[in-house]
Symmetry: C2
Subunit: 270 residues, 2 copies
């Protein structure tokens, strides 16, 4: 449930009809867990937003103000799921951005909807039929063009699983519908390369940093379904729920996931 | 310049903060030329919107009402560039649409910004460097996920040309930045297949129908840059400006474009 919406530090009740995020999805977002006023992985969220703005040529002039506005927002909403949306701002008709347009920074606070605690112990999963496109221009960014995810989420809703693996049109495993995906094979941590498709999630980045701190070997590369089915462990992650070990995909069962559990236990303690 | 904005038949001044078109680009649009109360190619615009809604599973329950609302809108704004936007409507956080959500139908009226008349005689053009992604899930639709076009339009603004050809990541020519593209070779009309990328424009569809009425041979297939450079004629089209013949791409010059001119002359008269 939506609790509050701010724009550039002020409460708002509605959006500008000329907002380019509405017309073209011309912007970026990040979804953030806020508990007892503590903002999880905040630096990584801002880092990703900044990188996205750079790739889309959205001006970062107001970034310091947005960051201080967000601290005030969290003071008002210390328990919530927070969403930061940065857009290119107002525009007329036509794709070309107005160079005078001021980027806009929105904050949404939602009640945190808790996932089943049991998912932390493991979930069954599967591969979806629908395939992600490949767009190097947009790959990796958490931009506002999320129609593929809307379609994938509808397919997932037809399954009995809380999350599922999604391949791209080349047959590579890319991510979950609202998660990133990792696998472990012979003590090496693998996650898909996201230069062609997918969202480079904040929890994915955090886990890569934790793995580095734990001195684990890490490979970021193209990965195919057969490699996941032959893995020692598989898990999903995102910044809202942390890590979900995968205990079954089709006929393949993972009874033990010791390294995944080790990551879970150390997720915020390395 | 924006003249008016309506939602579901009523004037509005702002948008719902929970509009999924803002959050995810979860919707479709069409841009329409309105002159002296006459709406160009209206049936094709609605047809494409309906097809898009079907592909995105957006309910068409209110379609008849939207069409009658649009007639009233045009009575108020008989000279404009009209934009119809259909969205999935309100939503909470998360990609899964609320099955209770009501689709929303927006109309925007803009002052028509006239392109240079001389473009009807021919334009010089080129290929852009940036490539369109391939997404069969979304290809062909004029959906609200238009970030690639925003980036391409910025690249085009660096060139001296009013429009440019865009290839996909496989190297196929797909379209212009805000146009579709055709070529003529040995009296056969060719246009790219759009099952992997691109927008199936209303003017493209109309031209295919005109060509059929003129008993021209037509091929819709994968086409590569070398084929365009070896063509007898090349032209861009969209529903705002009609047809722009291409008179030069790099070293290739087209001095005469007789069949393109024939199409231009018969565009609304077959």
């Amino acid at each position: 449930m939506l609790i509050a919406t701010w724009l550039n530090g002020n409460v708002i009740n509605c959006l500008d009809v000329q907002e380019r995020a509405f017309a073209y999805g011309d912007g970026l977002f990040s979804t953030i867990l806020v508990q007892d006023g503590a903002v999880k992985l905040l630096d990584l969220h801002w880092q990703r937003l900044i990188l996205g703005c750079q790739r889309l040529a959205i001006s970062l002039t107001n970034m310091m103000q947005w960051q201080s506005d967000f601290a005030m927002f969290i003071a008002h909403h210390p328990h919530c799921t927070a969403k930061i949306i940065i857009t290119r701002g107002r525009g007329g008709r036509g794709y070309l951005p107005d160079t005078q347009a001021e980027p806009q920074c929105y904050f949404y606070a939602y009640q945190t909807s808790s996932h089943s605690e049991s998912y932390q112990l493991g979930i069954n999963s599967d591969f979806l039929q629908q395939r992600l496109g490949c767009s190097p221009l947009l790959a990796g960014m958490k931009h506002l063009n999320r129609l593929e995810q809307v379609l994938l989420r509808q397919e997932l809703a037809q399954l009995a699983h809380p999350e599922a693996l999604v391949c791209d049109i080349q047959g590579r495993v890319i991510e979950g519908v609202f998660s990133n995906i990792f696998m472990i094979k012979e003590a090496v941590l693998y996650t898909p390369d996201l230069h062609q498709a997918g969202v480079a999630g904040v929890m994915r980045e955090h886990i890569l940093q934790v793995a580095h701190a734990l001195k684990w070997s890490v490979c970021i590369q193209d990965l195919y379904p057969a490699q996941f089915l032959a893995a020692d462990e598989v898990f999903f992650c995102n910044s809202m729920y942390g890590i979900w070990p995968v205990t079954q995909i089709q006929g393949t069962i993972w009874a033990n996931t010791p390294l995944t559990q080790h990551l879970q236990a150390n997720l915020y303690h390395v």
